[in-house]
Symmetry: C2
Subunit: 342 residues, 2 copies
């Protein structure tokens, strides 16, 4: 595992050096240095779960057959493409949300001399993906499918981001818009496709599979991604800040969280009034009132119920899948998230 991680990080250096010497652009000393610094700041500093899961998934699809060096390398390359995609989303999301920190350091656009250049840096990150894919997959029979896959998933993610932005930022904060359907739609498009479906889809393509034959796999992974985000919403309020590594602010931020949606579903008129009056306020007392209501409505119990039901349902779907190898991939994802505390 730590072996795979160090191999994965080696591949980052290879890709970076290719990009800094891309013959399609004449770098000057300054521009090459700018891109290098921007990449090192934004790409490799995360948990790398998405990227690493391409390699894990590909291994499981090969059912224990030893991978060649070339296969490991290519799976790492696809994994890095997902990490690049993630970096692109995060750099731009932080600008749009006017965020302060990311991964324990100031957001890129807050670095001295960066500012709004970060918008273009986000685009550079995004543009690196097809450069990387062309360098390493142009001759593969599935090249066009990988391009289509990344394009479709990126389209879905930006579309999910759009509904998130237009429901929370328009200055018309309105709890009555929040529903389970809206929550599911935001989460599915903004997070699930690129975080859960994309890594497995990459591994399937590398294994010679056609994605049209794996609609069920997609549906299961998207549901897992939704479940993952519900956990995220839950932990934001009820998790241990020491363990999750941050203090949640979804209530203050008027987020369309699973918790507030569930609370709206379950509250009486009086409790609804309390929610409308206190949700989305920075005031500590307001936040406490909302948390108190969540407890009164037993959202902790409701969450445990949701988690167990979802786990059972996902496990059943997985076990109905005809391929043991695919089952192994999906179970590996599920086991990583079930009951997680961070």
């Amino acid at each position: 595992m730590s072996d795979i991680r160090s191999k994965f990080l080696e591949v980052y250096s290879v890709l970076k050096s290719e990009l800094l010497n891309d013959p399609a652009f004449e770098f000057s000393h300054d521009s090459r240095q700018w891109v290098e610094r921007m990449l090192d700041y934004n790409v490799p500093g995360g948990k790398l779960n998405r990227g690493l899961s391409v390699i894990d998934s590909y291994k499981l699809l090969k059912e224990g057959k030893e991978l060649t060096n070339d296969e490991v390398f290519l799976a790492c390359v696809l994994g890095w493409c997902i990490e690049w995609l993630q970096a692109y989303f995060l750099v731009l999301d932080d600008i749009m949300d006017n965020s302060v920190t990311r991964r324990g350091q100031p957001c890129w656009f807050r670095q001295p001399k960066v500012g709004m250049i970060a918008v273009n840096d986000g685009l550079i990150l995004r543009n690196h993906i097809p450069r990387i894919l062309k360098n390493h997959f142009r001759e593969k029979p599935y090249y066009v499918d990988v391009l289509d896959l990344f394009n479709e998933v990126e389209f879905q993610t930006t579309s999910g981001q759009m509904i998130d932005l237009i429901t929370t930022l328009v200055g018309e904060k309105d709890l009555s818009k929040y529903s389970l359907t809206l929550h599911r739609r935001i989460v599915q498009y903004k997070t699930a496709y690129y975080s859960f479906y994309l890594p497995v889809a990459c591994a399937l393509l590398m294994a010679g599979e056609s994605l049209e034959n794996h609609i069920i796999v997609k549906d299961i992974l998207v549901e897992m991604g939704t479940y993952f985000q519900v956990q995220d919403d839950y932990l934001d309020c009820f998790g241990d800040p020491e363990v999750i590594g941050k203090v949640g602010t979804d209530i203050e931020d008027f987020k369309c969280s699973w918790l507030v949606v569930k609370a709206l579903e379950r509250c009486n008129e009086e409790q609804k009034k309390l929610l409308y009056e206190n949700y989305g306020k920075a005031d500590k007392a307001c936040v406490e009132k909302v948390k108190e209501l969540y407890k009164v409505l037993d959202l902790q119990g409701i969450f445990v119920e949701y988690e167990n039901e979802t786990y059972e349902r996902l496990l059943n779907s997985i076990e109905s899948h005809p391929s043991k190898a695919v089952q192994a991939v999906l179970k590996s994802f599920l086991s990583k998230i079930y009951n997680r505390q961070k």
Copy 2:
């Protein structure tokens, strides 16, 4: 001509309606309306030169053969992809430059309720391109080449934008960085590839040509794009504001303009001092001093010389091309820009 234009605008409506009903995303009423308004505001309001030139070029490549309806439609689709690309660049460029107006209306990000959501809207515009291409070109033998082409040109454009940004915005305004090499590099990457090469490359692909066999065409078009930008820089200072439709501000904005580069090349120590002291200041008197210096250095004469030499050289290169049809395409571009006053 006006016939082609109205046909072209019809195709916009078709593409818009496909995008608003894209099965890869579940639109809500609000999100569909948002995208429609955003498209109408940003995509069709320009001069449409880039888009229309795909159709012109394709016609010339077909040497007078009547085009089928299907061919006209597909050429329009590729033309619109370039207009979408342009809209994406402009929406984000206006944010980065903190601009006020664009095409005679407030910049998109300055619209009430839009603000930083415009960043994501730019990405949506960009993501529409592969959706459009997939809808209409997935089964064409040149599908993968069109994808590669748009990816490469976008990479070059964002790279050109990067050098523009890091040389002018870093808060280290320094005239000594400005040179003809830097000017050429910014212009070539930021403008020439997508404005001049891309439309012709699209037409060549539709005509069944392989772009690898047309490196010379690319070089000629990139040089034409550079020439076009030199004219733009010249007109910014010496053009008639009534005719060009705006009052130039390159001097105030400390732009790496062809004029300032030429002035630096030709001035003596005393004139250089004047330039360093007055370039990039909003003060009307400073701007006048710079303009006076440009006149003293006879930049108007130098420009006429540059224009005639470039025209001759381009015409020679074009006439050495073995294909009469390709010559016709290139001459059509050249005749549109030679001696332009706006």
